[in-house]
Protein backbone atom coordinates (compact mmCIF):
# COMPACT_ATOMS: atom_id res chain seq x y z
CA UNK A 1 0.00 0.00 0.00
CA UNK A 2 2.68 2.59 0.85
CA UNK A 3 4.39 1.61 -2.41
CA UNK A 4 1.26 2.55 -4.43
CA UNK A 5 0.86 5.81 -2.64
CA UNK A 6 4.44 6.74 -3.41
CA UNK A 7 3.88 6.07 -7.13
CA UNK A 8 0.79 8.29 -7.20
CA UNK A 9 2.65 11.03 -5.34
CA UNK A 10 5.53 10.92 -7.80
CA UNK A 11 3.17 11.47 -10.69
CA UNK A 12 1.36 14.20 -8.84
CA UNK A 13 4.64 16.03 -8.39
CA UNK A 14 5.41 15.64 -12.08
CA UNK A 15 1.97 16.97 -13.01
CA UNK A 16 2.36 20.17 -11.06
CA UNK A 17 4.73 21.38 -13.77
CA UNK A 18 2.51 23.70 -15.84
CA UNK A 19 4.43 23.44 -19.08
CA UNK A 20 3.90 19.71 -18.91
CA UNK A 21 0.12 20.04 -18.57
CA UNK A 22 -0.02 22.27 -21.64
CA UNK A 23 1.97 19.72 -23.63
CA UNK A 24 -0.35 16.90 -22.56
CA UNK A 25 -3.03 15.67 -24.95
CA UNK A 26 -5.00 14.71 -21.85
CA UNK A 27 -4.21 15.58 -18.29
CA UNK A 28 -6.36 14.50 -15.36
CA UNK A 29 -5.95 15.55 -11.74
CA UNK A 30 -7.75 14.13 -8.72
CA UNK A 31 -10.41 12.30 -10.73
CA UNK A 32 -12.85 10.48 -8.47
CA UNK A 33 -15.85 8.71 -9.98
CA UNK A 34 -18.39 6.76 -7.99
CA UNK A 35 -21.18 4.42 -9.01
CA UNK A 36 -23.19 4.22 -5.80
CA UNK A 37 -21.15 3.72 -2.62
CA UNK A 38 -17.90 2.32 -3.95
CA UNK A 39 -15.58 4.57 -5.94
CA UNK A 40 -14.82 3.31 -9.45
CA UNK A 41 -11.86 5.69 -9.62
CA UNK A 42 -10.25 7.38 -6.64
CA UNK A 43 -8.17 10.53 -6.87
CA UNK A 44 -6.57 9.59 -10.18
CA UNK A 45 -3.83 11.75 -11.67
CA UNK A 46 -2.73 10.96 -15.22
CA UNK A 47 -0.93 12.66 -18.08
CA UNK A 48 -0.89 11.52 -21.69
CA UNK A 49 1.73 13.24 -23.85
CA UNK A 50 0.89 14.86 -27.19
CA UNK A 51 1.86 12.65 -30.10
CA UNK A 52 2.05 9.45 -28.07
CA UNK A 53 0.41 6.07 -28.55
CA UNK A 54 -0.91 5.53 -25.05
CA UNK A 55 -2.50 2.44 -23.51
CA UNK A 56 -4.73 2.41 -20.46
CA UNK A 57 -4.39 -0.98 -18.82
CA UNK A 58 -5.65 -2.61 -15.66
CA UNK A 59 -7.72 -5.58 -14.52
CA UNK A 60 -11.46 -5.94 -15.20
CA UNK A 61 -13.49 -3.47 -13.17
CA UNK A 62 -10.43 -1.29 -12.56
CA UNK A 63 -12.14 1.75 -14.08
CA UNK A 64 -10.36 1.91 -17.47
CA UNK A 65 -13.49 2.69 -19.51
CA UNK A 66 -14.86 4.83 -16.71
CA UNK A 67 -11.68 6.90 -16.86
CA UNK A 68 -12.24 7.68 -20.57
CA UNK A 69 -15.96 8.32 -20.09
CA UNK A 70 -15.39 10.63 -17.14
CA UNK A 71 -12.71 12.55 -19.05
CA UNK A 72 -15.22 13.04 -21.90
CA UNK A 73 -18.02 14.03 -19.53
CA UNK A 74 -20.09 10.93 -20.30
CA UNK A 75 -20.24 9.95 -16.63
CA UNK A 76 -20.18 12.54 -13.85
CA UNK A 77 -17.07 13.01 -11.71
CA UNK A 78 -17.36 13.40 -7.95
CA UNK A 79 -14.26 15.57 -8.17
CA UNK A 80 -11.38 16.16 -10.49
CA UNK A 81 -10.00 18.34 -13.22
CA UNK A 82 -9.63 17.36 -16.89
CA UNK A 83 -7.74 19.23 -19.58
CA UNK A 84 -7.26 18.43 -23.24
CA UNK A 85 -4.27 20.19 -24.81
CA UNK A 86 -4.35 22.53 -21.83
CA UNK A 87 -7.96 23.50 -22.54
CA UNK A 88 -11.33 22.56 -21.07
CA UNK A 89 -13.36 19.76 -22.66
CA UNK A 90 -15.82 22.29 -24.15
CA UNK A 91 -12.98 24.28 -25.76
CA UNK A 92 -11.18 21.22 -27.09
CA UNK A 93 -14.18 19.15 -28.21
CA UNK A 94 -13.59 19.66 -31.92
CA UNK A 95 -10.08 18.19 -31.53
CA UNK A 96 -11.26 14.97 -29.87
CA UNK A 97 -12.56 11.83 -31.57
CA UNK A 98 -14.12 9.04 -29.54
CA UNK A 99 -14.61 5.36 -30.36
CA UNK A 100 -17.01 3.83 -27.82
CA UNK A 101 -17.10 0.14 -27.02
CA UNK A 102 -18.71 -1.71 -29.90
CA UNK A 103 -21.16 -3.45 -27.56
CA UNK A 104 -22.48 -0.12 -26.26
CA UNK A 105 -24.87 0.38 -29.21
CA UNK A 106 -27.69 -1.60 -30.81
CA UNK A 107 -26.34 -2.73 -34.21
CA UNK A 108 -29.89 -3.56 -35.28
CA UNK A 109 -30.50 0.20 -35.60
CA UNK A 110 -31.95 1.00 -39.06
CA UNK A 111 -28.99 2.72 -40.66
CA UNK A 112 -26.15 2.13 -43.10
CA UNK A 113 -22.38 2.03 -42.79
CA UNK A 114 -21.81 5.34 -44.60
CA UNK A 115 -24.51 6.95 -42.45
CA UNK A 116 -22.67 5.95 -39.28
CA UNK A 117 -19.38 7.32 -40.65
CA UNK A 118 -21.12 10.59 -41.55
CA UNK A 119 -22.18 10.91 -37.89
CA UNK A 120 -18.55 11.87 -37.35
CA UNK A 121 -19.34 15.04 -39.34
CA UNK A 122 -22.53 15.98 -37.46
CA UNK A 123 -20.68 18.40 -35.22
CA UNK A 124 -19.55 20.50 -38.17
CA UNK A 125 -22.71 19.88 -40.22
CA UNK A 126 -25.04 21.19 -37.53
CA UNK A 127 -28.78 20.62 -37.76
CA UNK A 128 -29.80 21.23 -41.34
CA UNK A 129 -26.76 21.80 -43.57
CA UNK A 130 -26.85 19.34 -46.44
CA UNK A 131 -24.18 16.69 -46.70
CA UNK A 132 -22.11 18.01 -49.60
CA UNK A 133 -19.70 16.28 -51.92
CA UNK A 134 -16.70 17.15 -49.73
CA UNK A 135 -18.29 15.64 -46.60
CA UNK A 136 -19.25 12.52 -48.52
CA UNK A 137 -15.74 12.17 -49.97
CA UNK A 138 -14.29 12.51 -46.49
CA UNK A 139 -16.54 9.74 -45.16
CA UNK A 140 -15.70 7.48 -48.12
CA UNK A 141 -12.00 8.09 -47.58
CA UNK A 142 -12.33 7.23 -43.87
CA UNK A 143 -14.04 3.97 -44.85
CA UNK A 144 -11.28 3.19 -47.33
CA UNK A 145 -8.62 3.76 -44.67
CA UNK A 146 -10.14 0.98 -42.54
CA UNK A 147 -10.59 -1.28 -45.59
CA UNK A 148 -14.39 -1.04 -45.66
CA UNK A 149 -14.94 0.95 -48.88
CA UNK A 150 -17.13 -1.75 -50.39
CA UNK A 151 -19.57 -1.70 -47.48
CA UNK A 152 -20.89 1.88 -47.60
CA UNK A 153 -24.52 0.95 -48.20
CA UNK A 154 -24.69 -2.14 -46.00
CA UNK A 155 -27.05 -2.20 -43.07
CA UNK A 156 -24.83 -2.11 -39.99
CA UNK A 157 -26.45 -5.21 -38.48
CA UNK A 158 -25.08 -7.29 -41.38
CA UNK A 159 -21.47 -6.63 -40.38
CA UNK A 160 -19.19 -8.90 -38.38
CA UNK A 161 -17.87 -7.67 -35.05
CA UNK A 162 -14.54 -6.71 -36.58
CA UNK A 163 -16.24 -4.81 -39.41
CA UNK A 164 -18.42 -2.96 -36.91
CA UNK A 165 -15.30 -1.92 -35.00
CA UNK A 166 -13.72 -0.65 -38.24
CA UNK A 167 -16.84 1.40 -39.00
CA UNK A 168 -16.59 3.00 -35.56
CA UNK A 169 -12.94 3.79 -36.24
CA UNK A 170 -13.86 5.26 -39.64
CA UNK A 171 -16.41 7.51 -37.93
CA UNK A 172 -13.66 8.74 -35.59
CA UNK A 173 -11.36 9.35 -38.60
CA UNK A 174 -14.11 11.42 -40.22
CA UNK A 175 -14.02 13.66 -37.15
CA UNK A 176 -10.52 14.80 -38.24
CA UNK A 177 -9.38 15.15 -34.66
CA UNK A 178 -5.98 15.58 -33.02
CA UNK A 179 -6.68 13.15 -30.19
CA UNK A 180 -8.30 9.73 -30.61
CA UNK A 181 -9.82 8.08 -27.55
CA UNK A 182 -10.66 4.41 -28.08
CA UNK A 183 -12.46 2.14 -25.63
CA UNK A 184 -11.25 -1.46 -26.08
CA UNK A 185 -10.80 -1.19 -29.88
CA UNK A 186 -9.48 -4.75 -30.12
CA UNK A 187 -12.13 -6.45 -27.99
CA UNK A 188 -13.68 -9.39 -29.80
CA UNK A 189 -12.28 -8.58 -33.26
CA UNK A 190 -10.58 -10.93 -35.71
CA UNK A 191 -6.80 -10.87 -36.26
CA UNK A 192 -7.11 -9.12 -39.65
CA UNK A 193 -9.19 -6.33 -38.10
CA UNK A 194 -6.73 -5.96 -35.24
CA UNK A 195 -3.90 -5.54 -37.77
CA UNK A 196 -5.95 -3.07 -39.82
CA UNK A 197 -6.83 -1.01 -36.76
CA UNK A 198 -3.32 -0.85 -35.35
CA UNK A 199 -2.01 0.14 -38.82
CA UNK A 200 -4.49 3.04 -38.95
CA UNK A 201 -3.59 4.11 -35.41
CA UNK A 202 0.13 4.00 -36.19
CA UNK A 203 -0.48 6.09 -39.32
CA UNK A 204 -2.34 8.64 -37.20
CA UNK A 205 0.51 8.63 -34.73
CA UNK A 206 3.06 9.10 -37.52
CA UNK A 207 1.06 12.14 -38.63
CA UNK A 208 1.51 13.65 -35.17
CA UNK A 209 -1.89 12.70 -33.73
CA UNK A 210 -2.29 11.46 -30.18
CA UNK A 211 -3.92 8.11 -29.46
CA UNK A 212 -5.21 6.85 -26.11
CA UNK A 213 -6.74 3.37 -26.04
CA UNK A 214 -8.20 1.26 -23.27
CA UNK A 215 -6.37 -2.00 -23.82
CA UNK A 216 -6.76 -5.43 -22.26
CA UNK A 217 -4.18 -7.55 -24.03
CA UNK A 218 -0.93 -7.17 -22.09
CA UNK A 219 1.03 -9.20 -24.64
CA UNK A 220 0.70 -6.47 -27.31
CA UNK A 221 1.36 -3.41 -25.14
CA UNK A 222 5.07 -3.27 -26.02
CA UNK A 223 4.42 -3.69 -29.77
CA UNK A 224 1.52 -1.27 -30.09
CA UNK A 225 2.13 1.52 -27.60
CA UNK A 226 4.88 3.85 -26.41
CA UNK A 227 3.17 5.25 -23.31
CA UNK A 228 1.26 3.36 -20.66
CA UNK A 229 -1.10 4.25 -17.82
CA UNK A 230 -1.89 1.51 -15.31
CA UNK A 231 -5.00 1.90 -13.23
CA UNK A 232 -6.83 -0.11 -10.62
CA UNK A 233 -9.29 2.32 -9.05
CA UNK A 234 -6.20 4.39 -8.20
CA UNK A 235 -3.46 5.40 -10.62
CA UNK A 236 -0.83 2.68 -10.18
CA UNK A 237 1.94 3.66 -12.61
CA UNK A 238 2.48 5.60 -15.79
CA UNK A 239 5.17 6.69 -18.19
CA UNK A 240 6.94 5.50 -21.35
CA UNK A 241 6.39 1.79 -21.99
CA UNK A 242 10.16 1.31 -21.99
CA UNK A 243 10.48 2.39 -18.36
CA UNK A 244 7.04 2.18 -16.75
CA UNK A 245 5.76 -1.18 -18.07
CA UNK A 246 7.58 -3.19 -15.41
CA UNK A 247 6.88 -6.48 -13.73
CA UNK A 248 6.65 -4.68 -10.41
CA UNK A 249 4.11 -2.17 -11.66
CA UNK A 250 2.09 -4.92 -13.35
CA UNK A 251 1.90 -7.11 -10.27
CA UNK A 252 0.91 -4.09 -8.20
CA UNK A 253 -1.81 -3.13 -10.67
CA UNK A 254 -3.19 -6.60 -11.15
CA UNK A 255 -2.59 -7.79 -7.60
CA UNK A 256 -2.54 -11.57 -7.51
CA UNK A 257 -4.40 -11.87 -10.81
CA UNK A 258 -1.34 -12.41 -12.94
CA UNK A 259 0.80 -15.49 -12.34
CA UNK A 260 4.60 -15.27 -12.40
CA UNK A 261 4.64 -17.31 -15.63
CA UNK A 262 2.30 -14.86 -17.36
CA UNK A 263 4.41 -11.91 -16.28
CA UNK A 264 7.54 -13.55 -17.69
CA UNK A 265 5.95 -13.92 -21.10
CA UNK A 266 5.14 -10.24 -21.42
CA UNK A 267 8.74 -9.10 -21.74
CA UNK A 268 8.06 -5.89 -19.90
CA UNK A 269 10.80 -3.40 -19.29
CA UNK A 270 13.46 -4.45 -16.83
CA UNK A 271 12.50 -8.12 -16.78
Amino acid sequence: MPERLRLAADDGAMLSDHADVARAALSVRGMTVSYGEKPALFSVDATFPVGAMSAIIGPNGAGKSTFLKAALGLVPMVSGEVQFFGQSLAQARARIAYVPQRASVDWDFPTTVIDVVLMGRYRSLGLLRRIGRAEMALAQEALARVGMEGFANRQIGQLSGGQQQRVFLARALAQQADLYLLDEPFAGVDAATERAIIAVLKDLNAAGKSVIAVHHDLSTVVDYFDHVFMVNVRAMAQGPVASAFTTTALSQTYGGRLGAGQLDQLHPAGS
Binding site: K69, L72, G73, L74, A90, R93, I96, Y98, P100, S104, V105, D106, D108, F109, P110, T111, T112, V116, M119, Y122, R123, L125, L127, L128, Q155, G157, R171, Q175
Partner: protein, 306 residues
Protein backbone atom coordinates in the same frame (compact mmCIF):
# COMPACT_ATOMS: atom_id res chain seq x y z
CA UNK B 1 -67.89 11.29 -52.79
CA UNK B 2 -70.28 14.23 -52.90
CA UNK B 3 -71.61 16.77 -50.44
CA UNK B 4 -72.50 14.12 -47.91
CA UNK B 5 -68.94 12.83 -47.84
CA UNK B 6 -67.57 16.32 -47.22
CA UNK B 7 -70.12 16.94 -44.47
CA UNK B 8 -69.92 13.69 -42.58
CA UNK B 9 -66.72 11.84 -43.46
CA UNK B 10 -64.04 14.27 -44.64
CA UNK B 11 -63.31 15.99 -41.33
CA UNK B 12 -63.34 12.88 -39.10
CA UNK B 13 -61.08 11.11 -41.61
CA UNK B 14 -58.67 14.06 -41.77
CA UNK B 15 -58.62 14.34 -37.98
CA UNK B 16 -58.00 10.61 -37.71
CA UNK B 17 -55.14 10.74 -40.23
CA UNK B 18 -53.51 13.80 -38.63
CA UNK B 19 -53.82 12.35 -35.12
CA UNK B 20 -52.30 9.08 -36.31
CA UNK B 21 -49.42 10.94 -37.99
CA UNK B 22 -48.79 13.22 -34.99
CA UNK B 23 -48.40 10.16 -32.75
CA UNK B 24 -46.51 7.97 -35.24
CA UNK B 25 -43.76 10.56 -35.82
CA UNK B 26 -42.35 10.61 -32.26
CA UNK B 27 -43.32 6.94 -32.00
CA UNK B 28 -40.58 6.06 -34.52
CA UNK B 29 -37.89 7.25 -32.13
CA UNK B 30 -39.67 5.96 -29.03
CA UNK B 31 -39.74 2.35 -30.31
CA UNK B 32 -36.02 2.53 -31.17
CA UNK B 33 -35.36 3.76 -27.62
CA UNK B 34 -37.60 1.05 -26.15
CA UNK B 35 -39.86 3.76 -24.76
CA UNK B 36 -42.96 3.11 -26.85
CA UNK B 37 -45.06 2.51 -23.75
CA UNK B 38 -44.79 6.21 -22.99
CA UNK B 39 -47.96 6.64 -25.10
CA UNK B 40 -49.71 4.19 -22.82
CA UNK B 41 -48.36 5.98 -19.76
CA UNK B 42 -49.47 9.40 -20.97
CA UNK B 43 -52.95 8.14 -21.83
CA UNK B 44 -53.36 6.82 -18.30
CA UNK B 45 -52.13 9.92 -16.51
CA UNK B 46 -54.52 12.02 -18.54
CA UNK B 47 -57.26 10.80 -16.17
CA UNK B 48 -56.00 12.49 -12.97
CA UNK B 49 -55.23 15.57 -15.11
CA UNK B 50 -58.83 15.78 -16.27
CA UNK B 51 -60.19 15.22 -12.76
CA UNK B 52 -57.93 17.88 -11.26
CA UNK B 53 -58.87 20.32 -14.02
CA UNK B 54 -62.53 19.63 -13.30
CA UNK B 55 -62.07 20.06 -9.54
CA UNK B 56 -60.22 23.34 -10.04
CA UNK B 57 -62.45 24.91 -12.71
CA UNK B 58 -65.74 23.14 -12.06
CA UNK B 59 -66.39 22.78 -15.79
CA UNK B 60 -65.83 20.10 -18.40
CA UNK B 61 -65.02 22.65 -21.12
CA UNK B 62 -62.33 21.64 -23.61
CA UNK B 63 -59.58 24.08 -22.68
CA UNK B 64 -59.36 23.31 -18.94
CA UNK B 65 -59.52 19.60 -19.75
CA UNK B 66 -56.69 19.94 -22.29
CA UNK B 67 -54.56 21.98 -19.91
CA UNK B 68 -55.18 19.50 -17.11
CA UNK B 69 -54.30 16.57 -19.36
CA UNK B 70 -51.20 18.31 -20.67
CA UNK B 71 -50.06 19.26 -17.17
CA UNK B 72 -50.52 15.69 -15.95
CA UNK B 73 -48.63 14.34 -18.96
CA UNK B 74 -45.71 16.68 -18.26
CA UNK B 75 -45.68 15.73 -14.56
CA UNK B 76 -45.64 12.06 -15.59
CA UNK B 77 -42.84 12.57 -18.11
CA UNK B 78 -40.66 14.37 -15.59
CA UNK B 79 -41.40 11.76 -12.90
CA UNK B 80 -40.55 8.90 -15.29
CA UNK B 81 -37.24 10.52 -16.25
CA UNK B 82 -36.42 11.30 -12.61
CA UNK B 83 -37.17 7.74 -11.44
CA UNK B 84 -35.26 6.25 -14.37
CA UNK B 85 -32.18 8.33 -13.65
CA UNK B 86 -32.17 8.41 -9.86
CA UNK B 87 -33.24 4.80 -9.48
CA UNK B 88 -31.03 3.62 -12.38
CA UNK B 89 -33.82 1.32 -13.63
CA UNK B 90 -35.02 0.59 -17.13
CA UNK B 91 -37.52 3.01 -18.68
CA UNK B 92 -40.32 0.43 -18.88
CA UNK B 93 -40.26 -0.07 -15.12
CA UNK B 94 -40.20 3.67 -14.44
CA UNK B 95 -43.20 4.17 -16.73
CA UNK B 96 -45.06 1.29 -15.10
CA UNK B 97 -44.58 2.75 -11.63
CA UNK B 98 -45.57 6.28 -12.63
CA UNK B 99 -48.61 5.64 -14.77
CA UNK B 100 -50.10 3.04 -12.44
CA UNK B 101 -49.68 5.33 -9.44
CA UNK B 102 -51.05 8.42 -11.20
CA UNK B 103 -53.94 6.48 -12.75
CA UNK B 104 -54.83 5.08 -9.33
CA UNK B 105 -54.62 8.57 -7.89
CA UNK B 106 -56.97 9.73 -10.63
CA UNK B 107 -59.50 7.03 -9.77
CA UNK B 108 -59.40 8.03 -6.10
CA UNK B 109 -59.85 11.71 -7.00
CA UNK B 110 -62.69 10.80 -9.31
CA UNK B 111 -64.48 9.00 -6.47
CA UNK B 112 -64.22 12.06 -4.29
CA UNK B 113 -65.58 14.41 -6.94
CA UNK B 114 -68.88 14.87 -8.73
CA UNK B 115 -68.51 11.72 -10.77
CA UNK B 116 -71.74 11.94 -12.73
CA UNK B 117 -70.44 14.79 -14.85
CA UNK B 118 -66.78 13.89 -15.07
CA UNK B 119 -67.48 10.27 -15.91
CA UNK B 120 -68.71 11.23 -19.36
CA UNK B 121 -65.36 12.74 -20.13
CA UNK B 122 -63.45 9.69 -18.97
CA UNK B 123 -65.38 7.68 -21.55
CA UNK B 124 -64.58 10.35 -24.09
CA UNK B 125 -60.90 10.17 -23.18
CA UNK B 126 -60.83 6.47 -23.99
CA UNK B 127 -62.91 6.28 -27.16
CA UNK B 128 -62.84 9.85 -28.44
CA UNK B 129 -65.74 11.10 -30.51
CA UNK B 130 -64.39 10.90 -34.03
CA UNK B 131 -67.81 10.18 -35.59
CA UNK B 132 -69.26 13.40 -34.19
CA UNK B 133 -66.57 15.70 -35.59
CA UNK B 134 -68.64 16.46 -38.67
CA UNK B 135 -68.67 19.63 -40.78
CA UNK B 136 -72.34 20.54 -41.11
CA UNK B 137 -71.67 23.92 -42.70
CA UNK B 138 -70.09 22.27 -45.72
CA UNK B 139 -72.28 21.92 -48.78
CA UNK B 140 -69.82 20.09 -51.02
CA UNK B 141 -66.20 20.20 -52.17
CA UNK B 142 -66.59 23.93 -52.91
CA UNK B 143 -66.74 24.54 -49.15
CA UNK B 144 -63.05 23.64 -48.87
CA UNK B 145 -62.26 27.12 -50.24
CA UNK B 146 -65.28 28.87 -48.69
CA UNK B 147 -64.15 31.02 -45.72
CA UNK B 148 -67.61 31.03 -44.12
CA UNK B 149 -67.86 27.24 -44.14
CA UNK B 150 -64.20 26.89 -43.10
CA UNK B 151 -64.89 29.03 -40.04
CA UNK B 152 -67.25 26.29 -38.87
CA UNK B 153 -64.80 23.43 -39.11
CA UNK B 154 -64.72 21.33 -35.95
CA UNK B 155 -62.05 23.05 -33.77
CA UNK B 156 -60.31 19.69 -33.28
CA UNK B 157 -59.19 19.77 -36.93
CA UNK B 158 -57.02 22.92 -36.88
CA UNK B 159 -55.76 21.93 -33.42
CA UNK B 160 -54.53 18.50 -34.48
CA UNK B 161 -53.29 19.90 -37.82
CA UNK B 162 -51.06 22.37 -35.97
CA UNK B 163 -49.72 19.66 -33.69
CA UNK B 164 -49.08 17.27 -36.61
CA UNK B 165 -47.25 20.06 -38.45
CA UNK B 166 -45.25 20.81 -35.30
CA UNK B 167 -44.23 17.15 -34.96
CA UNK B 168 -43.19 17.07 -38.63
CA UNK B 169 -41.14 20.27 -38.25
CA UNK B 170 -39.43 19.01 -35.08
CA UNK B 171 -38.61 15.69 -36.74
CA UNK B 172 -37.00 17.43 -39.73
CA UNK B 173 -35.09 20.05 -37.73
CA UNK B 174 -33.77 17.70 -35.03
CA UNK B 175 -33.31 14.68 -37.30
CA UNK B 176 -29.55 14.38 -36.81
CA UNK B 177 -29.42 14.84 -33.01
CA UNK B 178 -32.43 12.52 -32.58
CA UNK B 179 -30.89 9.84 -34.75
CA UNK B 180 -27.43 10.04 -33.22
CA UNK B 181 -28.61 10.27 -29.60
CA UNK B 182 -30.88 7.29 -30.20
CA UNK B 183 -28.23 5.16 -31.92
CA UNK B 184 -25.12 5.99 -29.89
CA UNK B 185 -25.67 7.99 -26.74
CA UNK B 186 -21.99 7.91 -25.70
CA UNK B 187 -20.70 9.27 -29.02
CA UNK B 188 -23.50 11.86 -29.10
CA UNK B 189 -22.45 13.14 -25.67
CA UNK B 190 -18.80 13.11 -26.67
CA UNK B 191 -19.40 15.47 -29.59
CA UNK B 192 -21.32 17.76 -27.24
CA UNK B 193 -24.96 16.97 -27.98
CA UNK B 194 -27.26 17.59 -24.98
CA UNK B 195 -28.39 13.96 -24.92
CA UNK B 196 -30.50 14.15 -21.77
CA UNK B 197 -32.31 17.24 -23.01
CA UNK B 198 -32.98 15.54 -26.37
CA UNK B 199 -34.50 12.53 -24.61
CA UNK B 200 -36.66 14.72 -22.42
CA UNK B 201 -37.74 16.89 -25.35
CA UNK B 202 -38.77 13.78 -27.29
CA UNK B 203 -41.06 12.52 -24.54
CA UNK B 204 -42.48 16.02 -24.03
CA UNK B 205 -43.22 16.23 -27.77
CA UNK B 206 -44.84 12.80 -27.52
CA UNK B 207 -46.94 14.05 -24.60
CA UNK B 208 -48.10 17.08 -26.63
CA UNK B 209 -49.06 14.82 -29.55
CA UNK B 210 -50.83 12.39 -27.23
CA UNK B 211 -52.88 15.07 -25.48
CA UNK B 212 -53.86 16.80 -28.73
CA UNK B 213 -54.83 13.49 -30.31
CA UNK B 214 -56.65 12.06 -27.31
CA UNK B 215 -58.98 15.05 -27.26
CA UNK B 216 -60.14 14.31 -30.79
CA UNK B 217 -59.77 10.59 -31.19
CA UNK B 218 -59.38 9.09 -27.71
CA UNK B 219 -56.53 7.29 -26.05
CA UNK B 220 -57.10 3.96 -27.83
CA UNK B 221 -55.83 5.44 -31.09
CA UNK B 222 -53.07 7.31 -29.29
CA UNK B 223 -51.68 4.14 -27.71
CA UNK B 224 -51.97 2.21 -30.98
CA UNK B 225 -50.44 4.91 -33.19
CA UNK B 226 -47.35 5.39 -31.03
CA UNK B 227 -46.48 1.74 -31.51
CA UNK B 228 -48.17 0.02 -34.46
CA UNK B 229 -47.26 2.16 -37.52
CA UNK B 230 -43.58 2.65 -36.50
CA UNK B 231 -43.23 -1.01 -35.53
CA UNK B 232 -44.84 -2.09 -38.83
CA UNK B 233 -42.49 0.19 -40.76
CA UNK B 234 -39.52 -1.03 -38.71
CA UNK B 235 -40.20 -4.55 -39.98
CA UNK B 236 -40.29 -3.42 -43.59
CA UNK B 237 -37.02 -1.49 -43.90
CA UNK B 238 -33.47 -1.05 -42.62
CA UNK B 239 -33.31 2.72 -43.18
CA UNK B 240 -34.53 5.19 -40.59
CA UNK B 241 -35.83 7.75 -43.10
CA UNK B 242 -37.72 5.06 -45.02
CA UNK B 243 -39.07 3.76 -41.74
CA UNK B 244 -40.49 7.17 -40.81
CA UNK B 245 -42.11 7.66 -44.23
CA UNK B 246 -43.58 4.15 -44.18
CA UNK B 247 -44.91 4.68 -40.66
CA UNK B 248 -46.77 7.77 -41.87
CA UNK B 249 -48.28 5.77 -44.72
CA UNK B 250 -49.32 2.97 -42.35
CA UNK B 251 -50.80 5.53 -39.92
CA UNK B 252 -52.81 7.22 -42.70
CA UNK B 253 -54.03 3.94 -44.18
CA UNK B 254 -55.05 2.69 -40.73
CA UNK B 255 -57.01 5.87 -40.07
CA UNK B 256 -58.83 5.92 -43.42
CA UNK B 257 -59.44 2.19 -43.70
CA UNK B 258 -60.46 1.96 -40.04
CA UNK B 259 -62.89 4.82 -40.37
CA UNK B 260 -64.51 3.41 -43.51
CA UNK B 261 -64.70 -0.13 -42.14
CA UNK B 262 -66.18 1.08 -38.84
CA UNK B 263 -68.87 2.99 -40.71
CA UNK B 264 -69.70 0.53 -43.46
CA UNK B 265 -68.14 -2.79 -42.54
CA UNK B 266 -70.93 -3.99 -40.24
CA UNK B 267 -73.55 -2.93 -42.82
CA UNK B 268 -71.74 -4.89 -45.53
CA UNK B 269 -71.82 -7.86 -43.16
CA UNK B 270 -75.56 -7.48 -42.65
CA UNK B 271 -75.61 -5.73 -39.26
CA UNK B 272 -77.59 -2.53 -39.03
CA UNK B 273 -75.27 -0.36 -36.92
CA UNK B 274 -71.68 0.85 -37.21
CA UNK B 275 -68.87 0.25 -34.70
CA UNK B 276 -66.46 2.65 -32.96
CA UNK B 277 -64.14 4.28 -35.49
CA UNK B 278 -61.41 4.68 -32.87
CA UNK B 279 -61.54 1.00 -32.02
CA UNK B 280 -61.53 -0.02 -35.68
CA UNK B 281 -58.60 2.28 -36.57
CA UNK B 282 -56.53 0.86 -33.71
CA UNK B 283 -57.49 -2.68 -34.74
CA UNK B 284 -56.51 -2.08 -38.36
CA UNK B 285 -53.11 -0.76 -37.29
CA UNK B 286 -52.66 -3.90 -35.18
CA UNK B 287 -53.63 -6.11 -38.13
CA UNK B 288 -51.13 -4.30 -40.36
CA UNK B 289 -48.42 -4.90 -37.75
CA UNK B 290 -49.35 -8.59 -37.63
CA UNK B 291 -49.14 -8.82 -41.43
CA UNK B 292 -45.75 -7.13 -41.40
CA UNK B 293 -44.57 -9.57 -38.71
CA UNK B 294 -45.63 -12.56 -40.78
CA UNK B 295 -44.69 -11.42 -44.27
CA UNK B 296 -42.53 -8.33 -43.85
CA UNK B 297 -39.08 -8.23 -45.40
CA UNK B 298 -36.92 -10.65 -43.48
CA UNK B 299 -34.94 -8.85 -40.83
CA UNK B 300 -32.52 -10.14 -38.23
CA UNK B 301 -34.77 -9.71 -35.27
CA UNK B 302 -37.59 -7.52 -34.09
CA UNK B 303 -36.64 -4.60 -31.89
CA UNK B 304 -38.75 -4.93 -28.76
CA UNK B 305 -41.18 -2.07 -28.57
CA UNK B 306 -40.92 -1.45 -24.85
Amino acid sequence: MGAEFVQFSLTPMLIGVLAAIACALPGNFLILRRQALIGDAISHVVLPGIVVAFLVTGTVATMPMLIGAGGAALVAVVLIEAIRRLGRIEPGAAMGVVFTALFAGGVLLLEQSDTSRVHLDVDHALMGNLETLIWLRASGWASVIDPVALAHLPPELPRIAIVAALMAALTVIFWRPLKLATFDEGFARAIGLPVSAIGLALVIAAAVAAVAAFDAVGSIIVIAMFICPPATARLMTDRLATQVWLSLAVAAVSAILGYVLAGYGPIWLGFDSSVSAAGMIATISGVMLAIACLWGRARGRVTPVA
